[in-house]
Subunit: 560 residues, 2 copies
Amino acid sequence: MATVSADPAQLFERHRTTLEDAVAAVHGRGFHSAYPESPSPKVYGPDAAAEGEAAFTALLGADFPIDQPGGDERIVTERSPYGIPLGVGYPHADADTLLAASRAAAPSWRAAGPEGWAGVCLEILHRLNQRSFTIAHAVQHTTGQAFVMAFQAGGPHAQDRGLEAVAYAYDLTTRYARTVRWEKPQRRGGAQVLDKRFHVVPRGTGLVIGCGTFPTWNAYPGLFASLATGNPVVVKPHPRAVLPLAITVAVAREVLAEAGLEPDTVLLAAERPDERLAARLATRPEVRIIDFTGSTEFGNWLEANARQAFVCTEKAGVNTVVVDSTDAYRGMLGNLASSLSLYSGQMCTTPQNILVPRGGIATDEGHKSAAEVAADLGAAVRDLLADPARAVALLGAISGDAVLDRVAAAADLGETVLPSSEVVHPEYADAVVRTPLIVSVPADRRDVYGREHFGPIAFVVQTADTGESLRLLHATTTERGALTAAVYSTDPAVLTAAEETAVDAGVNLSVNLTGSILVNQSAAFSDYHGTGANPAATSSLTDPAFITPRFRLTQSRHPA
Amino acid sequence: MATVSADPAQLFERHRTTLEDAVAAVHGRGFHSAYPESPSPKVYGPDAAAEGEAAFTALLGADFPIDQPGGDERIVTERSPYGIPLGVGYPHADADTLLAASRAAAPSWRAAGPEGWAGVCLEILHRLNQRSFTIAHAVQHTTGQAFVMAFQAGGPHAQDRGLEAVAYAYDLTTRYARTVRWEKPQRRGGAQVLDKRFHVVPRGTGLVIGCGTFPTWNAYPGLFASLATGNPVVVKPHPRAVLPLAITVAVAREVLAEAGLEPDTVLLAAERPDERLAARLATRPEVRIIDFTGSTEFGNWLEANARQAFVCTEKAGVNTVVVDSTDAYRGMLGNLASSLSLYSGQMCTTPQNILVPRGGIATDEGHKSAAEVAADLGAAVRDLLADPARAVALLGAISGDAVLDRVAAAADLGETVLPSSEVVHPEYADAVVRTPLIVSVPADRRDVYGREHFGPIAFVVQTADTGESLRLLHATTTERGALTAAVYSTDPAVLTAAEETAVDAGVNLSVNLTGSILVNQSAAFSDYHGTGANPAATSSLTDPAFITPRFRLTQSRHPA
């Protein structure tokens, strides 16, 4: 074990201001960020980009440098959607080995207490922030995200989400008195007096099951929520996106060791293809918390079978945009075109269904028929992506063949408004890049648009009127789930009805976005990602219900 | 519907100070009570006792006055352990009728918002407090509790537990900003600006399944936690203890109606014998929250089958006292004697296993062998209960025949230290009153003491030493659950080890209680009842994890 360079209490003091500002932010819900999102040299220093890329390159074609329990077997499961060879080998360990190590580490981590947990977590986040460029390349070349997005979403935005979870955890574990002298007046004689001590008791090992598209952004809330409430964590990355989380685990273990704690508090669980290690771990009695992002099928399986655990799942959803009217037609089209194009629609927050009254809509450019709206949206996407260099910066690359298959299949599901086309990547000749497909279908084709088509696939759905659009928003959200919803209207009554519909269906609503903010984007400390109130997710990133089941409170009391 | 005499906002203002004091108390955890526990005329007024008793008597042998959806069928399921006729008829309604009414009431209750929920809940609690004498008689004659205990535990203490739940709910739903202007600075140009609104979205109908021994105390936390987070509630009392909760529901409906809200926000679900109405309701998709106190068998069934709901269960447990040494031998014996006698051991918090090293213990009266400790405890119980009038004020009456059967069976499980004897109740000739049975067994009889024997049954278990006692405390708590644990020792190292053992096993610990405070008792706003960290209960009355899954947060955002 490394020399103790800063114990947990010192780390807490080092990062106290960052923590306190974050706690204030989750309550105030205004704009807040602790980790700058710009990859500019003015922010991260003149050498950060080159050094980060060099560090990434040094990891390729080699065994990943991490020392944790397990045998010598190394597994390689990643390929870059941009076509460069990766070939990173990760150590394999079986469930018994991982959980024995996690259990052995638990007491020392539990003993660190709320301040220690927060201090260590914030030091981990700080060092992850310093490695943002390396992580950005790792995210880009595992997920297919374009570089700047990989930097932002995989680096600072994910770190902010992690900090947000730590802030909630610290707030909810420390805002109840930890000791008290309890004095109960008696009608006769002196008071009854007891001294009481209260303990935060962590629930048990957390299992984080990462996804292939946002390996850090979707994993950090669960990882840091469990750690910051005193639980050890086993991180099981998606086999296609191991590297960003392997770096994360390595950084966490480094900080733990330097703080004199057990590095096995955080463990990497890389899996062989078809090993089903996640399912194996998830049903073990030692695993008491599970955070999962991925398919509805496996999410539902976890909810049904991992009965011993507090299970947080984020699964598939069908995101809807209700178009009623607008006083900024070009802005609306441009905003929607960007939403559909960003990371080729491979976001759980990308709109899929754009509901337009078949009689058309009122706009600042006059009345537009439903067909015109569809065609104008298609044109807006085409214009946005006309320049290949600009297109690939938005689109990134397609993460896997399953997405291409879905695009091919979706073209036959209705009338094509805009076909998906190939884009040649100016930098990576082997990258698979596709523009969004837009298909027009009538409202009675819920068999088509009523389920998720993950990828660059959108449906313009012609409805009878906005009333039907809102009913469909409600129906698809409550039946299939949704992570986002949006409405465009100039009519206050429609906006009120849309908000009531969204509240009732349990989905977050974006209203009249016509500028640079997209419905896909959610900001840490202010926007909730998911609600737990519809089938797309059992929890929200982050609300108090995401945190409180991860720990218990116990007490002792004795006469003073 | 009655005239609106005070709307929810007015009720909130009326009770704001009570609420704010309660919120401060759950954070500070010092002594706090809003509802006086003394039934003295100086506190509740000279006529309160007589009026309360008259109101109770007026309810007997008649249809209970409550107007809610359902047919004309009335059901009578209660008998008094004191032998007086009850004969109260409750309206029966089937699950469809109840849940349709609950669903219809939900929107108006949801619309009342956090302040409205708190205001209405506090008015309900205020009126319940005014009916404490009536409720005391109802609790006494359904559970067998002695009158003063029925008054305190069934009245003010239960009301304080309800208020505590409201305080948590109000605090956790209102301490995050409800609107914000979010302004994100841009590196070029003006800030991105969004106005955001946040909504508390109630989870859905709550089902409270009451128990036969503490019908109000165990039901109020769940009832008020669900109500104060915006959910309608169906209250299903234990068939032997309907009246206290029928009064509660009637009071809630009266307050709701007067506030201009739907009285069906709170509904009574009285059940026919063997109807299994609780199971029928619990698995309905409309039921989204369940609070249950009762058998391990049904609690486990609910956890396994009511998958659509947030399920809080309090089940059986095995409570342990570790006796290592004491500097107040008489105080310890007297305190334990009271703990075993209170309500004839029919409390989920009563100690069952008293672990004594077989080599004996050091005391302020010299060394005492294990046999002496057992015999002295038996004598202390006998002395405490020597006077019948005093005995019945402590013991109350036996709540049902199953308890008597267990006492009879337990006498053969080891060496009898103190037999259970009958006490003739000076006031109620037909009351069934029994003193506690104490049986001595060696540590290797975990088949005997390792499971719950609910009722006036205690085991003195002879262990090898205090180390074995602590291991047994840990083992029985983690295997069978426990709501309380206690230790007596003069050795700081033993006390530290006991506290670590209790934290690790997830049970609350009382240390060296030798005065008037009993391990059985837990005080609202300060003591946690249950932890959720051992098999006796999935939750704690009350901690944040008991509250937060009852609501979700959603948002909308639009350009400023």
